[in-house]
């Protein structure tokens, strides 16, 4: 339909058949195709001489086993889906990268599903993952509908959820509540009495948990509490939260931010627009410890979530379930480390 005349009839749709097959290697090596297959199957029985011939021929032709066909046979593909919205931002970016690295190390193929929050997009992504017989799915964010879990379950695809409390799936979570309680406590013990939390209106479960644990602890301690929220949980939301928290005459003297991105926005707003000093006038604590937190402009006291550790745990959970699909859901809790920098020193 493009421009060329009708194809020559010899190779109607072999156009793209550039990959070498085991048959061709067998022919060149003068052995049967089985011998080729066995050469590339660990533990199979091949004579050293045959193996040598095959390897030589394979080398010459540039052969590599077709993992697709292998997957069809074994009904398994070594593909693992990483599902995330905005995988380029903040902690999620580090998590996704760490997952990709670990998955590759164990011989899996990480496929990055960058999807919006809409249900349709998520289900379309799932269709792809089922169609390609993905071995497992790791979800970094978003709130998949129940049908998502159901469909994965039905197709025997292990599901690992990071940062969300889905009771029917394997999950990895940070100790959000402990950390948030600690944040409120150290603020209070340092003499701060007007405690604020900067969160999000469309928060993930993690964000919500951090907000509420901080708030209840702060109230329990008898502090005055403030809430500022932005539309999302990024830098702009931090600015919005700052605007909400510091536009009244009575202002908080300590702000716990539900993640570092929010903290950066809030710090910038507070310093540049409200002209307050950090930590003298306002103390700040964040969450995640992304690299920017240690930048000289921020020097943010925060709770470290190590993306390497969380990714490792997620992959371990996945492997565990692949080994035994009938296990009860696993739960890995990673306790964040309190990292003290300039924005608040207890």
């Amino acid at each position: 339909m493009r421009d060329g005349p009708v194809s020559d009839g010899k190779t109607p749709k072999k156009e793209r058949m550039r990959f070498v097959s085991a048959e061709q290697v067998a022919q060149l090596a003068g052995v049967s195709r089985s011998a080729v297959s066995r050469t590339f199957t660990p533990g199979a029985s091949v004579a050293p001489a045959t193996r040598e011939k095959v390897l030589r021929a394979a080398q010459e032709l540039g052969y590599h086993v077709n993992d697709l066909a292998r997957g069809v046979l074994a009904n398994q593909s070594r593909l693992v889906g990483i599902v995330a919205t905005k995988p380029e931002i903040g902690f999620r970016a580090h998590l996704a990268a760490a997952l990709a690295k670990f998955l590759i190390q164990r011989g899996s193929i990480p496929i990055l599903i960058n999807t919006g929050q809409t249900e349709d997009e998520l289900l379309a992504a799932q269709k792809m993952l089922i169609g390609h017989r993905a071995e497992a799915i790791i979800i970094l964010s978003g709130s998949p509908p129940a049908s998502f879990f159901e469909l994965a379950q039905r197709n025997g695809q292990p599901l690992v959820v990071i940062g969300r409390s889905e009771p029917d799936a394997d999950r990895v979570r940070a100790g959000n509540s402990e950390a948030s309680r600690k944040a409120a406590t150290v603020f209070f013990e340092a003499g701060r009495r007007r405690l604020a939390v900067a969160g999000s209106n469309t928060g993930t479960p993690s964000i919500i948990e951090r907000e509420s644990a901080f708030l209840s602890t702060a109230e329990g301690l008898g502090a005055e509490v403030f809430i500022g929220r932005g539309a999302d949980s990024d830098y702009e939301s931090g600015i919005a939260a700052g605007r909400a928290l510091f536009s009244n005459s009575v202002r908080p003297d300590a702000v716990y931010c539900a993640n570092d991105q929010i903290a950066f926005g809030l710090m910038d707003y507070v310093r540049q627009e409200v002209k307050l000093r950090i930590p003298e006038d306002v103390a700040i604590i964040g969450f995640d410890d992304v690299p920017e937190a240690s930048w000289l402009s921020y020097q943010l006291t925060t709770f470290r979530q190590d993306p390497l550790v969380m990714a490792m745990r997620a992959v371990e959970l996945m492997e565990r379930r692949l080994g035994n699909p009938d296990l009860p859901p696993g739960y890995e809790r990673v306790i964040p480390e309190f990292v003290i920098r300039q924005s608040f020193r207890p």
Copy 2:
């Protein structure tokens, strides 16, 4: 070998056979497997009634076509590799995310190869991509050896390179030289005479190109030139470059940073350690325009590379080549937009 006794002999390794096959759907619908296949093949001839029966059965069983087997048949897999080192950082993170999004939109499966710089890792990654019959490979960074290109060529895998001048492959590049010349020119025209570039000792081709174009232009204008380099091209390297550039008595009054990350490090160092004002004492221009560049703490004047545009171009080049493998290498040049903020106003 693990722990269980010998398997029961009935289902030796069907353990994971949870996915539904077309055969089962055919059986339930009371038609032949061909009818099922045709139902899911656009443009095939199926009676509406049959189609309906098949769809109903498929829905009930939760069937989805096995794209692996389909790929084996067509010798094509819809998998596309995205190869990057440190895909979590800076502009690359945005590029990778944009690529993933566009690839999914066109029905491809983006696989994220997070690899180190070593040749072994790269070649191992390539093995995976060949083994899974990846349809194409997009390279974001790193300097693959010649054998990488050769092997991809040999297997008919289109290769798109972003930000590097590999003459034998399709490539997308920013107008590094134009932008860098412009940076030197606007500095000079604003009266700055001691012009510095902050780059990297292990720079990518883009970084190197920006450095040298700026330097030659600055020299040509008759300015005094300085060079500061860090080990990498990230925030810490910016600090290192700052240390190198501002430890002597004669200091630059304008610094062009090879990317935004370097600029952030340098700005922080200059302001916090050397106690200079930006832009009064030192003007700064960066490159990339990542979101952090517009943060209040930086307000960085920079050259915008739009990751969406570059990703789109890369995918277009890929599609073009898939349509016609024998085309000469394509070259898409994306001209960066000069974004003026506080760190320097011409």
